[in-house]
Symmetry: C2
Amino acid sequence: MSVTLADIARATGLSASTVSRALSDPDKVNPRTRDRVRKIAQDMGYVPNQVARSLTSGRNDLIGLIVPDIANPFFPPIIKAVQARASAKGKTVLIADVDEHPSDEIQRARVMRKRVDGLVVVSPRTPDDRLDQLAELRPIVFVNREVKGAASVIIEDSEGMREAVEHLTALGHRRVGYLNGPRRSWSNTQRQNAVREACAAHGVDLVEFGPFEPQIQAGVRAADLVHASDVTAVIAYDDMIALGLMARLNERGVRVGPDISVIGIDDSPMSGMAYPTLTSIHVPGSEAGARAVDIVLDLADTAGDAEPSVVQLETRLIVRSSTSPVRER
Amino acid sequence: MSVTLADIARATGLSASTVSRALSDPDKVNPRTRDRVRKIAQDMGYVPNQVARSLTSGRNDLIGLIVPDIANPFFPPIIKAVQARASAKGKTVLIADVDEHPSDEIQRARVMRKRVDGLVVVSPRTPDDRLDQLAELRPIVFVNREVKGAASVIIEDSEGMREAVEHLTALGHRRVGYLNGPRRSWSNTQRQNAVREACAAHGVDLVEFGPFEPQIQAGVRAADLVHASDVTAVIAYDDMIALGLMARLNERGVRVGPDISVIGIDDSPMSGMAYPTLTSIHVPGSEAGARAVDIVLDLADTAGDAEPSVVQLETRLIVRSSTSPVRER
DNA sequence: CTGAAAGCGCTTACAG
DNA sequence: CTGAAAGCGCTTACAG
């Protein structure tokens, strides 16, 4: 078996209490004793049992992060930002991928709950009527979804969407498609409202398609629907859908840019590498992740009596080659 | 505070022992008692404290998974396969992304060690001379790296690489480039050896470039080096590098396929969506992940007296549009 | 600065 | 089938 505190106490002739302090609260112990204990602990290959430490101290030095689908390139940058920020504060991050199964979110969160000091849940798809069950698992912060009474970092889609529609209008487009994201997705509701408002404001006809899952294959399917319609430009719920759309249009000999303009959302790393490069609405995922960590650790410290903060972040349009002037007919 | 076992014992008038059994070992208790306990526990919103449970039982029902970089599309399918397999066996997966910092692997593994029943480490970059420190943290299984004395699931690159070189030869290519992966990467050593052997066997001239990190940007950088050389085809260490390479060649007006052939490795989801679609060597990541779970849970049960198993999986070439007959000069 | 004691919330032989 | 007791490996007031 592994070496325990008691083993070290025996080896040093000290009490377990002192050994414990020497190792985790160095100021409360004689420097000489501390050094001796640490050396012996090291020699014996002692590794504290975090489980026992957690049970007794209530601290885990761990943050739980729940994401819908790590295969979607929108999430890795968020995850990395969360890790970077957590690490700067001496915490480690445990990630759970719920694989787009909303029903798993609550269950996975419960499993994690006692093992972590706080939870960060990104883009939860848990239905409204069960959301409070999730929110109860405090300290918890939601990213990309507003939950009443709970802390959250939300991304305001309207500015980026306004810029996108304005950009298309300037290029002469008058009939624009929107590819809806998943049914009941909070994000999609935001984006759908934003695109409707922006189109109305600019006198642009809006044609909606979908819902589509945020996956490349769904974009491939969308391509033929879009091609059969009379829109000259399309805004997709996210880059995944936009990339699938472009791949299929390429395959059918439709030139993205000259023949039809495409705009994605997320500005994921692939958007600059696609062919043509994809005009996309930048969503500040990394910033959102970092802010979420700050908030959740704050909540963990203040035991939740602070009033839940809601942080808003803005989006903006990044123009690349997939949008061009409307083609004359 | 949350509801504890003791609270339920009080509420039901039973002992903590009985309540514990009713909840987690139902056969050892009177069915009537069991149902009553469960109902009351449910009503009181009881959630077992997993930390306490782990400390006393030694089981965590958790598997730790360590990956180098979740942003690299090679890993998500592996992660999902691990989760699916683990879930089928009643375990939950905790993921740690070490962000391509090899030095973090051991540390992260140690943090996880006591909280999980076993570790799966994918494509570790830990240097050879510290690898035994990692391997000591049993039960542990390595994926995509052979570690002496430890269980592993390794991917045999030679067959796929042989097919790739054969394919290029059939298309008339006689001078082929290989873009090396990261220095000191075990995978790259395998692939480098495989491509050298295959080229030698087919009388093909091999020109090596790199090392390159497995990232799109590195591929972009590689493109200009390749273009300045006289190779007519390139095999890249992985799809990320190949995708960056193609993007930059497209940008420079070089037609991938007709002008230069490109082969990636991993057959990641993007390879079918890139332009042109990318010929790639399929690496059975999902299968590797599933097998790793089986092995690590076996090890956890048998307390490590079984001799570590080494599973080998094969690769094969998937031909798409990025490879064409060599252009006449 | 150090030690003895209690306790974190659960599980598990051991009796009955 | 049920209960009392011990214990998992730590931490942390409380004394001294």
